[in-house]
């Protein structure tokens, strides 16, 4: 056998060996592909939708690695030079060249949302980069890798920490912008305007209201995502209802179709609470055509109302899915699961959505480390919704993209968050073979419940010997029983004592903000009890507790952290907010009710005087508009002139004109 022949046989054998190896590897590769959803319908649809992606993943062949390297270097060099004009483009290219690497997508999104954004100077630029990060994950990465836990975690984290947190210099502008976008789309959720309504009833109302959107005609097959802004077959389905089609015909005459134009017209002209709640001035009607359209939008005949609600729910569901990639059914499911009135204008609600959605879609094993992180995101979102889940916004005509935005605590989240904690803690303890009180989430759980107790005590939900679920005493007992907490503080006579002791405890974190929130809650409760529900006992209890809280805090706080102005000043300011901007406290109160609250404090003119001084002009206008006699509704409190004189002495620079007259 010649040398050439031997080489030929060796080559043949080698080829056969390689072929066999490739054949053997084929099965695990296919299994892995299926497991990772490489060959899912969603992936194929994404490929079909983006020919660029198909080209980039196949044409460069072996040069793909070189191209990726070059693009990484270019993106990093440009970033270091502070030149970000094509950063989004580069990030997209890099990701599209390796579309099944979730780490790459996550890094690029993180880079835009966290690194590039903070190098810009205006809030608009900042928002653009933060939202670019969201869009890259939500609209591109997750479409390619629908079962990647990492991507859902990153997306949830941007909503939770970047937009919802307080570390970024411009975090308020993100909250405002997002709230504005969601307000335009969904409107305000039904609010607890009726003071006699229980919190549970309010929650049911909010959940029920969202049900209309969740059940609107929508096909959530991933293949159809974002193919059309409004799914035409579903639109036809909606129009099959003769009541809807008749109303739609009328709207068409004004150029309003079943799409964003309907939302535009509704937001502009509707007098429904969900829109009125954020307006500063009523809609201005400039022409006859606008008057007619406004009349149609506000037509409250049963048929028109029913048709309008169906159409609005349909458009909202379509845009939620096709633009924001949010599944209305799952949004509703979350609200029902936790029995909470999730306000989708709050970024934390979206942090919760994406973490929970990731857990649902990826269904990871208990041992997956990312699962614990996801659960933390779910819990942290719920915790933050407890302390600031109640959103109130006011449109600013001068800057509609950035409405005035207020957030405050919402006690309805306490019990669901507690229950979710228990569920995750039990699973963790079981997995690690520990007792319940030693679970990984224990510290977080206890700290959360202590904070919840602060809020509950402030709101007068204390509980007695046999405390009900949702009262401070109930959670206090729970911690002692399940987490076996002992010590002086845990042997307090009452939960109120515990809260005050904990406030003044050595080594406790600076609690300026928490104390102010608690004072605000307690005093609001007191003022409402006396002014609106005539519950003098409740007023006295709350008032006394507020004083105690204030004194305990002032005693323990460093000089620079003391609350300025004394207790009366705090109470006066809470009254000012209650009379001037009750919505920021989660209440809508008529002028007559405001007057009742004010008049009920006749024995505390030192409190009245603070609110009167600040709100005189505003309340005068409010009374005039409502045909109420201002002098009777809000009589000037005794000592007003003295108070004003004192103010002028303290702040002469702020009032130079008056100083000259002295």
């Amino acid at each position: 056998m010649g040398r050439s022949r031997i080489i030929q046989i060796a080559c043949l054998l080698l080829a056969a060996g390689l072929l066999t190896t490739a054949g053997l590897l084929q099965k695990p590769i296919l299994q892995e592909s299926e497991k990772s959803d490489f060959l899912s319908r969603q992936n194929l649809a994404a490929m079909e939708r983006s020919p660029q992606l198909a080209v980039l993943t196949s044409v460069p062949g072996g040069l793909r690695v070189l191209a990726v390297n070059y693009l990484w270097i270019r993106s990093q060099t440009l970033h270091q030079e502070g030149r970000h004009f094509d950063a989004y483009q580069l990030a997209e290219l890099i990701c599209q060249l390796q579309p099944y690497q979730p780490g790459v997508w996550a890094f690029q999104a993180w880079n835009m949302a966290w690194n590039i954004s903070v190098t810009t100077q205006t809030r608009e630029e900042r928002w653009r980069w933060v939202y670019n990060g969201v869009k890259l994950l939500r609209d591109r990465a997750i479409v390619q890798n629908p079962r990647s836990m990492l991507l859902y975690k990153e997306l949830s984290w941007i909503f939770f920490s970047k937009m919802g947190g307080y570390m970024d210099d411009m975090h308020w502008s993100y909250k405002q912008r997002w709230a504005g976008m969601m307000q335009s789309l969904l409107g305000s959720p039904p609010s607890g305007d009726d003071l006699k309504q229980t919190l549970a009833q309010e929650t049911d109302l909010a959940i029920e209201a969202f049900g209309a959107i969740a059940n609107a005609p929508l096909d959530t097959d991933p293949v159809r995502w974002a193919r059309e802004r409004i799914q035409q077959d579903k639109r036809q389905e909606l129009l099959a209802d003769p009541v809807v089609s008749a109303y739609a015909e009328k709207l068409k005459a004004f150029g309003v179709d079943i799409d964003e134009s309907l939302l535009g017209a509704y937001n502009r002209f509707s007098l429904d609470d969900s829109v009125q709640a954020v307006r500063i001035i009523p809609p201005q009607l400039k022409s006859q055509r606008e008057k007619e359209l406004s009349a149609l939008i506000n037509d409250n005949a049963a048929a028109a109302k029913q048709a309008r609600e169906k159409m609005l729910a349909f458009v909202r569901a379509q845009i939620l899915w096709n633009e924001y990639h949010l599944d209305p059914q799952f949004m509703w499911e979350l609200m029902k699961r936790y029995k909470v009135p999730l306000d989708w204008r709050h970024t934390m609600s979206h942090g919760l959505y994406w973490a929970a959605y990731g857990l649902k879609v990826c269904d990871p094993s208990e041992t997956d480390f990312l699962k614990l992180n996801h659960r933390r995101n779910v819990l942290n979102s719920l915790k933050n919704l407890t302390s600031m889940g109640l959103v109130n916004i006011l449109w600013r005509p001068d800057n509609p993209d950035y409405p005035n935005y207020y957030e405050s605590a919402d006690l309805r989240y306490i019990e669901p968050t507690h229950q979710q904690h228990i569920e995750y803690a039990k699973a963790d303890a079981k997995l690690k073979g520990k007792t319940f009180d030693k679970n990984t989430l224990a510290s977080g759980h206890v700290n959360y419940l202590i904070k919840a107790m602060d809020l509950l005590v402030a709101d007068g939900r204390i509980g007695g010997i046999k405390p009900k679920v949702g009262t401070a005493q109930y959670y206090y007992d729970y911690i002692k029983r399940e987490y076996k907490r002992t010590g002086k503080m845990w042997d307090s006579e009452s939960v109120e004592d515990f809260v005050v002791a904990e406030m003044a405890a050595e080594g406790s974190v600076p609690r300026y903000e928490i104390t102010l929130v608690m004072l605000k809650f307690t005093l609001k409760r007191a003022l409402v009890a006396r002014g609106l529900t005539n519950d003098e006992k409740e007023f006295q209890n709350r008032w006394r507790f507020a004083r105690r809280l204030f004194n305990a805090y002032q005693k323990g706080a460093a000089d620079r952290m003391k609350i300025p102005g004394g207790f009366n000043n705090v109470a006066g300011n809470v009254l000012t907010v209650l009379l001037g901007r009750p919505r920021t406290l989660g209440l809508t109160i008529s002028v007559a009710d405001r007057s009742d609250i004010y008049l009920a404090l006749a024995d505390k003119p030192q409190i009245q005087v603070i609110a009167y001084h600040q709100l005189e002009g505003f309340l005068r206008r409010l009374c005039k508009a409502g045909g109420i006699d201002f002098a009777k509704a809000f009589p000037a409190p005794p000592g007003l002139e003295g108070y004003r004189r004192k103010l002028r002495q303290v702040m002469p620079a702020a009032n130079p004109g008056r100083d000259k007259t002295k």
């Binding site: 060099t77 950063a87 903070v118 100077q121 205006t122 630029e125 653009r128 980069w129 670019n132 210099d169």
Partner: protein, 555 residues
Amino acid sequence: MNSIWAVARHTLSQCLRMKIAVAFLLLLAAGLAILPLVMTGDGTLAGKIRTALSYGVGITGVLLSILTVLVTVAVVSGDIQQKHIQLLAVKPLARWQYLLGRWLGVVLLNAALLGVAAVTIYLIAQHLRGSDPASAVDHRTIETEIFTARAEVKPQPPNIGKLVRKRIEKLKVDGRFDDALQTYAGEVDRKGKTPQERLYAELLKQELSRIETAGPMGAIGWRFKDLDLAGRETKAYGTVKISRADVGQFRISVPTPLAGKLVYRGPVRIDDISGQVISLGRDWFDVRFGPDVAKRQHLLDLRKGSTVEVTVEPTIQFRYKAQPTVKLPAGKKQLHRVLYFGPPMGKPIYIVAGSGPTGTPTTMTVPAAGAVVDGKLQVVYRNIPAPPTGPSSMVFMPPSVRISSADVSVLYRVGGFEANYIRSVLLVFCQLVFLAALGVFFGSFLSFPVATMACMVLLGGGLIFNWLSEAVGWYGQGGEFDFSGFVGNIVLTIIKVLMPNLSETSPADKLVDGIYISWASIGWASAWAVGARATLYLGLGCWIFHKRELAHVQV
């Protein structure tokens, strides 16, 4: 000369018939056609225009470079391989004339293709310029940072040598000089520096750090000279839209490019009368005149519809990159500062306070009037704490900030975009001229595949030279000798000699930043970086070709 020209013309027509040339031509046309459709930039119009310019010039440069190499090598080595050269050899045509003709033909082809591509990119950019900008800032950026040509002036270097000598004198006076020297005497220096040299280098580093760092409430200053702002005003005619002559206030509509050059609260002249811009729109601005000036009859006569000459005073853009000396928490990249602009030794004319990002270049625009005197300017950066945000908020001292002189510059408009664009295209052309010479050289003695590969390796090396030189080091991480680094450096040195640094001569970065490309830089590129090497390659190619035996006599 006629012979060369004849070969060049033949080469040009031959190239146009080649499939590969047609393929690249189509690729280039497709690339430029889809450019405005796929380029999104960062969401702003400025970003989109920058991306279109950068990618447009980049795609054109790369595709034409590859085409040049392939075509040049193909025509020269192809003639030899297919023995067409033997037909030419018997004609009255010197071999050097043949090679020069081939080179010239490819250069002409490049000139034509580059011209068409350049016009296309320019039209795309101008088309995008006419779109609606995302914001007023976006509009300003387009007009003052892209469609312009700005000179960049670096600050005067501080006399650090003098400061170091003072430190050494002080060490000697204190009797600590020998101790300091002793610290370095014990260490082995791989580069063979003496202890004195190393001590000097260390002191130099310390002094530089000291003068480039501002502690809390501290300041850093820079002086600039030779700012040639004379006659840099921009003029255009505008129309009075709203006249409130009684209070000395007018709204004037002007062409969009001019409106983009105005600065809020900056000076502007209307029919040579100085006023102040108080409000700005995309194609209009509001101007207010001082009480005395407003009484002038000429202003009182201005009515709605009157045509006025608007003169925009030159502005300067101060660019710097501040680095905090400690790591800031996530999301806290902004630091507060006050910037003072004024003539050296004089009172500051403009004071700009606020916060600015760290770790990334920041640009501030201020009017030049008053601040720049006799071409001189002084800028001072003061590092201040953030103002308190409420009664309970605390004032934290800011971290120290370092601003390297290399990261500081002043920019001002010295010309228009069009002329700058033409110069940038000429720079690309210079590169193509060189690559044609390279192709001729390798094609004259190597076969098509080998010559192409040699050219491509060098072309790639030239394009990513900066990155390669950063990536390849002589020493490993621990300071030990690294063999692969050694070999890599030798390869780099070879590339450096054989190739101009194409990443440095590329005009795209300057173009998208509106940085003035001087004739001097083109002269340098054409004469030395590219010209000399091209001549050398052509000369060598001619010499090798002249000596080469084109046919073997077989008996």
